[in-house]
């Protein structure tokens, strides 16, 4: 056989070997609205906000090294957008005591509910970036028969979730998160669930920070009346989700949230007090004094989240996401004017 024949044969074999099967139950992965509508119900809506329930669930988070963190948590929702998360018993940690943990958990209650749990935050983006595989299996979770799904990233950083979804309520009653290397990063499992909870004595979550939403359709700089940074190079698959001004103490930050359908990514920068005009005067608050210094950031890995924090072109910046440090650096650099 001639040389070209050998190469052709190798290419044909490799093409066959690399061909991936179509996920069961989902013959194709179309994009756009049609794709979102053809996906299971848990993709189209956040059942936690629509189904009143109360339950105890076990959460476990793996550390990069050493013991991780595990605790029980009570979740209560009224099906109308109100929710409450309370730490329960069973804290397993070598780095924090129970009292401090409960205090921090209470402070971050809203953030945990909005961004920590597995939720499809943008169905269209989800349909583009993720692949849903129906395992065709059922599992009993908290006394309810759940269907098993595998949700894996089809583009970009490889990661995956194993989900157990109650087909009646579409609540995700168990989830396991795996990183690109296949290591278990986090898990959540309902130990009990009550679909007719007594809500009379529940203290619903109240936002502890002042967050003002912005309209992404209009220039952010005009809305905040100050110079703003906006990343132009996002990690693969991510799209803008929200924009808001967040005030934390005496500082104000422009908070831009991006999403790949499931995982959020945050970019915040201090609002430049020097160029801030009427916004600062109207609100009557001191808004971010930003030192002018060379661009430098501190990088830190917290569990599966990568964090960059520092100064870029005179702005205090923070970038946090479950992406690589290089991707976050690209994002920061692309925000420079």
């Amino acid at each position: 056989m001639k040389l070209t024949g050998w190469i052709g044969l190798c290419l044909a074999l490799l093409a066959g070997a690399c061909e991936r099967g179509t996920p069961a139950g989902f013959p194709e992965q179309p994009t756009g609205q049609e794709a979102a509508e053809s996906l299971p119900g848990f993709v189209r809506r956040d059942a936690r906000l629509r189904v009143a329930h109360s339950g105890i669930r076990r959460l476990e988070f793996a550390a990069l090294s050493g013991p991780g963190l595990a605790f029980d948590e009570r979740i209560t929702t009224d099906g109308d957008g109100h929710y409450a998360l309370e730490p329960a018993q069973g804290l397993e940690s070598t780095t924090i005591d129970n009292g401090s943990f409960e205090l921090l958990h209470h402070l971050r209650e809203g953030f945990f509910f909005r961004y920590r749990d597995f939720v499809v935050r943008d169905a269209r983006t989800f349909a583009r970036n993720w692949r849903v595989i129906d395992r065709g299996q059922s599992t009993l979770i908290a006394g309810r028969t759940c269907a098993r799904f595998r949700v894996e990233r089809a583009l970009g950083t490889a990661c995956a979730y194993e989900l157990c979804v109650d087909p009646t309520t579409e609540l995700v009653l168990a989830s396991e998160e795996y990183d690109g290397s296949g290591s278990l990063v986090a898990s959540m499992t309902y130990a009990s669930i009550d679909l007719t909870p007594n809500l009379s004595r529940v203290a619903w979550h109240q936002s502890g920070n002042e967050e003002t939403s912005l309209d992404r359709a209009h220039p952010l700089g005009e809305q905040i009346q100050a110079r703003s940074l906006e990343p132009r190079l996002l990690p693969q698959g991510y799209v803008p989700l929200e924009a808001a001004v967040v005030r934390a103490g005496d500082d104000a930050w422009l908070k831009l949230t991006y999403c790949d359908g499931v995982q959020p990514l945050f970019f915040l920068h201090s609002i430049d007090a020097n160029s801030l005009g009427k916004a600062a005067q109207v609100d009557g608050q001191r808004i971010g004094a930003t030192p002018r210094s060379p661009s430098s950031v501190v990088a830190c890995q917290v569990g599966s989240a990568t964090t960059l924090q520092g100064t870029v072109d005179g702005f205090e910046v923070i970038a946090v996401g479950k992406v690589s440090q290089g991707e976050l650096l690209d994002l920061l650099e692309s925000a420079r004017p």
Binding site: I96, L104, R108, A305, G326
Partner: protein, 184 residues
């Protein structure tokens, strides 16, 4: 040789005519010629040279006229129609054949050996290398070239180096709360 070629190129057809005539079948002299010649020469002392020449001419005129063979006309016509072709055919044929030097045979044998080695060893080796390259290109994970960033990056040795807001975001996203030893 060069002289002959020059003559031919100048249009001298004499060589061609010599060759054609030389290729003709020689005709034997008629039997009566010898008797007449002998009789003539027996009387030769009595006549002068002029007379002898005249007599000889008469004798020759008395001989049978032998016409040129038809092939001669055909060969001449062919040569006149394609003179260059016939010239090229004729001259190499007249060159002396030289024996190939022994070095040529040795070099040919070496070349043949190298070609066989290439076919038996090099081609499969190249095929395997190409297949390996294809496998490597297809199987390897895409590793984008690290970009040179203009932002200085300092790796934190502890979460405490982070701003409280950044730390809260990172811990909240990863599910940790109050952790202090997960930085790398």
């Amino acid at each position: 040789m060069e002289q002959r070629v020059a003559q031919e190129l100048d249009g001298d057809r004499s060589r061609r005519l010599y060759r054609v005539l030389g290729s003709l079948v020689r005709q034997a002299a008629p039997p009566g010629l010898d008797e007449r010649v002998a009789g003539h020469f027996s009387e030769a002392p009595r006549v002068g040279d002029e007379e002898r020449g005249r007599q000889q001419a008469e004798v020759l005129r008395a001989l049978d006229v032998q016409p040129a063979p038809p092939v001669l006309e055909r060969l001449l016509n062919e040569e006149l129609e394609l003179p260059l072709r016939h010239r090229a055919e004729r001259f190499p044929g007249s060159l002396g054949r030289l024996a190939a030097p022994p070095e040529l045979e040795a070099r040919l044998n070496a070349t043949a050996r190298r070609r066989n080695m290439r076919r038996l060893l090099l081609a499969p080796a190249l095929t395997l290398a190409a297949a390996g390259l294809v496998v490597w290109l297809v199987a390897r994970q895409p590793t984008p070239e690290p970009r040179a960033h203009r932002i200085t990056v300092v790796q934190a040795s502890s979460l405490r180096e982070l701003d409280p807001l950044a730390r809260a975001l990172a811990e909240g996203l990863s599910g940790f709360a109050g952790s202090s030893g997960e930085a790398r």
